[in-house]
Symmetry: C2
Subunit: 364 residues, 2 copies
Amino acid sequence: MDERVREHAETLVDWSARIEAGDDVVVSVDEGAHDLAVAVARALGERGANVTTVYASEELQRAYLRAHDGEFDEDPGHELSLYENADSVLSLGGGRNTAGMADVPGERTQRYGRARQGIREARLDTDWVSTVHPTRSLAQQAGMAYAEYEEFVYEATLRDWESLAEEMDRLKGILDDGEEVRIVNEGTDLTLFIDGRTAVNSAASVAYDSHNLPSGEVFTAPYDTAGVVTFDVPMTIRGRDVRDVKLTFKDGVVVDWEAAQGEDVIDEIIQTDGGSRQLGELGIGMNRGIDRPTGRILFDEKMAGTVHLALGRAYDANLPEGESGTDSAVHVDLITDMTGDSRLEVDGEVIQRNGVFRWEESED
Amino acid sequence: MDERVREHAETLVDWSARIEAGDDVVVSVDEGAHDLAVAVARALGERGANVTTVYASEELQRAYLRAHDGEFDEDPGHELSLYENADSVLSLGGGRNTAGMADVPGERTQRYGRARQGIREARLDTDWVSTVHPTRSLAQQAGMAYAEYEEFVYEATLRDWESLAEEMDRLKGILDDGEEVRIVNEGTDLTLFIDGRTAVNSAASVAYDSHNLPSGEVFTAPYDTAGVVTFDVPMTIRGRDVRDVKLTFKDGVVVDWEAAQGEDVIDEIIQTDGGSRQLGELGIGMNRGIDRPTGRILFDEKMAGTVHLALGRAYDANLPEGESGTDSAVHVDLITDMTGDSRLEVDGEVIQRNGVFRWEESED
């Protein structure tokens, strides 16, 4: 077994999901994630956990959804009870074709999702963690050779999470105490108001309310926004390429927008509902193992030296106790590269310049 | 998609499992059974059933069992509730290596099985059906080329089950009315007493209390046996080759035994417990699509022109109401070829000669 696969499995089981003896674990395996699943099974066996393995094949899903008439039963009892009785769900991504669901009507998939709302909530009620096993399909999406992509994934995933968590905690402290964040970059001068909001230190572990491996970002939710922002990191949204989106905010709402490519997708998103014209998230990437965009948000939004903003829904964890951020059906991240001539300020103080935090400078 | 795979899936879903709209179905997929699983997902989507797919990978299982300390929790709640809430379980066999569990200590596997007795019972309480997708590993086990083995599997599986069920019903009637079966063959003259026992028409459908696809046998349980029987069909039992087993019965119990090869396995089986010296099953193969042994009991025992007898446990379905046949920990089938100079008699009347039933002769 590749030593990196074993280390990935152990990071997932121990650091991310905090599995203990006797835990009832569901492992969900994508078509191309078999090798990681074997390593995870081994780690779970060693910890004395109880494992049920689900086959998350998109080819099966596609065949099922296309054949179905679309009148789905709500939350089938056998699957609902599986997740209701699970302590943890480990999702091992890694398909064999990122276009594997391309010919399933979007409306069918949405109806299926809506009928399984209870199952989704039961999964989210567990200590769930999503990760990705490198496959050729994902390497292709990222524009990398397979071995190069493997290196990339492990560089992003097998980090010293404990020390990164400490560093991110420093940024969380600054954001929690701050009232106003200003982002200045080429084509960007944006002010976000965060007074009273709580930042999440997303350190790739359920112990930090963080459910992605890799992670490595600190995020909060602005309640108001003003100014202009340009997102220069290339992205694929809803299957379409999007480049250089420029948004203008006034009183917290998008009042003007344009894009060099994929403007129709941005139109669609902004016009979804009331919440989709507002920002639900300000995230600051801090994973130095991620050095380039791959077209996959799990990695891209955590890239060190980037900032991402999401149109739409906010996470409850960022909001004052009792408030809920689910006032939009969408949550779409857009990313800007801060490594050029740029700065990030909190309450007028520069905390990052040209992608480098002030504590990194002083350590040099 | 290969038309035969689609037909296999539809036979499984419609004829065997009798799936209806709204049924909660668990599909269990072996490592090599992906293509059949896609076809089954399609058929279940068309029927409007609800599907959860379990990944039955032996490589995962091996890694888990080897890593575990052997102190297994009893019937983990998440998996137990999955099966307790399922209407049907469709098991799609087809591994990639028949020796995939070779280095797992047998005692570990047995402890795991014992700890999951409740899960096993919950599965057996559903409308479960087991079938096999042809894989290269199984072709190798059968000593066939891959395309040849595919042909073999579909010849065995895609039959006119309705008319075979009618024919088998005729044999069931004869056995239900009969008191005494006599098998005469080279090295065999055996009498089995079946008065009061009920034969099962195993027509590959839950509607017939039959849980294998393919099936195609009629079986009952003798309460007494006398004489000699030689099993000339080669078999692999507990991983060891067994040839030409000869058993001598007196008053229902084996009193003498020998084998040209694998006699130590037969010793082991017969000395397991009190019930393992007796016959728990008399089965008559009637699947004309199965024309040669493959080393896999799912197929071999259904071969037309063969008779099989099992040492050990009887099936409750064969016994008078209220009696249970679980008086042995084993149930091991042995097969004899009746296509040579042989005959099968019920109450002194020949019902099959040289592997041909009397109604087949009259139809010629």
